[in-house]
């Protein structure tokens, strides 16, 4: 059975965000959610440079380790990677909130959507692309449910005694930014252009922006530059290679080959 939050990907995409769907997300959940009363923001507290290293745990649950007991998954409806992409994990209820209270609501697992953003929680700077996606994602969810920015809580506000530092963000400033997105006073999201800008006025547009699922001549060229197997299909391996390349060149490791990445690739040619 498909659970209730099947609207999540579209709501996020309409907000100009890049959304990645985990297989079987529609039917995943600890049963169905109740009425949605808000969003609880988390960080994953796992140190890494990878975009979304905790995805497997968020889907399947946490194994017991020192200081942490095992918990059945899914652990959150949404994951937010360091590259600013949303990973839709479950359309049903998730074990993300536990005991606590926000705005009078105490059944956080049933009434709140959980977002786990990748951050070590010990001072790792939040990449602008990720924090901006965080605001926009929360705003899109609240708007879809007809709620205002006050319904967005940090886990540390919902459960201050158990999780005093989660997430490592100033939630008041966070809510102000969410409200700005909601009332339209924030700038529009920057989307990646579909082509390289023409080198000079009047010249034809340059190379197309490539991402997973593309095929063709341009993908061959990309693969040969990255020195990986060339089959002309932009699949998961090519994407991982692009992400690695982007990280090495100080770009956002989102796996999408846009104008900046093409520029960086040109230096290798």
């Amino acid at each position: 059975m498909r659970y209730s939050l099947i609207w999540l990907p579209n709501a996020l995409k309409e907000a100009g965000l890049h959304v990645r769907l985990v297989d079987n997300w529609e039917t995943r959940g600890r049963g169905d959610v109740g009425r949605i009363e808000g969003v609880i923001c988390h960080h994953t507290a796992v140190a890494s440079t990878k975009p979304m290293p905790t995805l497997g745990s968020l889907i399947n649950g946490r194994k017991a380790e020192p200081g942490l007991s095992a918990v059945a998954g899914p652990l959150a409806q949404l994951g937010l990677g360091r590259e600013g992409h949303f990973y839709v994990i479950a359309a049903g209820r998730c074990n993300h909130a536990g005991e606590g209270r926000w705005q009078g609501f105490t059944n956080g697992n049933a009434n709140f959507i959980g977002i786990e953003a990748e951050n070590d929680g010990k001072g790792e700077p939040w990449p602008p692309v990720q924090i901006e996606a965080y605001w926009r994602g929360v705003a899109a969810i609240l708007m879809h449910e007809g709620l205002d920015a006050s319904r967005c809580a940090g886990h540390k506000e919902y459960a201050p005694t158990r999780k005093p530092h989660d997430p490592n963000l100033d939630m008041n400033a966070f809510r102000i930014n969410v409200a700005k997105v909601m009332n339209g006073s924030a700038p529009l999201p920057e989307r990646i252009p579909p082509f390289d800008p023409p080198p000079e006025a009047g010249a034809p547009a340059g190379r197309a922006t490539l991402f997973r699922g593309n095929t063709g001549e341009l993908v061959f060229r990309l693969q040969s530059v990255l020195a990986i197997g060339t089959d002309g299909i932009f699949g998961s391996i090519t994407e991982a290679a692009v992400r690695e390349f982007q990280r090495q060149h100080g770009l956002t490791g989102d796996g999408i080959v846009g104008p900046f990445t093409w520029q960086a690739l040109d230096t290798l040619l």
């Binding site: 890049h18 959304v19 105490t106 956080g108 999780k163 989307r191």
Partner: protein, 445 residues
Amino acid sequence: MFGSWVLEVAIGVIFVFLVVSTICAAIREGIEAYTKTRAAYLERGIREMLHDPHCEDLARKFYEHPLIYGLYAGEFIPSADAMKIRSFALGRGLPSYIPSQNFAAVMIDLAARGSVPSSDNETAAGDPGAVAANEPRALATSPITAQSLRTGIAEMENQQVARAILSALDLAQDDLNKTRLNLEAWYDAGMDRVSGWYKRSTQWIVFWLALAIAGVLNVDTIGIANFLYRNDTARHAVVAEAEATLEQARKDAALVQEKGSRTPTAPSGGAPIAETEIADASRAAMNEYAQARKKLDTLTLPIGWREGIHCSGKGIWWLSECVKQGSLPFLGWVMTALAATLGAPFWFDILNKVMVIRSTVKPYEKSKPEGSEDRQNPDQSLTLALRQVAATATATGMMAQAGGITAATSAQERDPEANIDGCEPGNGPMTEDAELPPGDGGVMR
């Protein structure tokens, strides 16, 4: 949004009531097609109006009058216990409806000319005195005048009815047409009582029917409201289904109107009811029942016993134990049954009204985040805000009205898994870049 879901829960519950009462009405009509209780009640009403409780004189003459005799099949045999109002009284082929024109004409005819002598001597033998007394006038073919009517009334045995007809004649100042209208009005007033008896007995029958259906199919109003409150998808599905039903009903009504204007149908009350019509009526009732039943099954609601009964009682106390443990939602069933007694037309009407309210309250939940032009235009954002305020105000009013439902469902319930917190995913197996799923969005097209 706030207003929308209260209304949607209400729509869902009303729709369930509508479907259940449709089922009950269909079953009731099916029963009626065989028992013809309406006809029995009509006979009783006639007897009372004509002050002839045992059907010895005027009521019998009335039913045997050629203008009425043609309305039913077979002979008129008065039943002994017709004066008792029983829920399943048998109509025995008597007419379910008698047009008021027929009644008035028969009364004037009976008063002025006396009873119609039967060609069959055996039937006449049942009331020899009356026939003999009226014989000379039965042969008269001169038209009835106010004067001849007065003479006839004076000779009537039944003093009470004689007074009634006389007062009708007096009020009409000896105008026969007006007398007829007065008699029709008298008859209509009496028939209102008859339909009252029928309505009351139907309400009882429908209540027990609905209770049985609610129990057998587990249609628990409280449970359904609760479920709809928590389940967005199901709620939207039910609302869509209700919308489709209303739309279909509107189309059907338009179709019937169109048909009616083209081919005038015969007045249903007058024609004798043949066997085929009984079969038709019961088939139509069966059809309606099957459709409503199908609708109930397709709704994604917690209806039925799919999950079984969970309670630990044993032996003869099992049932009471189950009710105590809340496994048998008795209160919910009774609510369903009580609602069904109000009838399908009532719920149809209410559903229509709530739908209209909802269409005016519909919130702006799907507004696009990047629709900045509208938002930055001060005029538009003001109107938007005003409309939202108005919507919330209306919704609050509705909320107060729908208090029963909201009170039952808005309580913050904690459940066994409410305390599970897996917020820190831990250092379990790390997901590599190549294992991440593909995505979409954020790129201009």
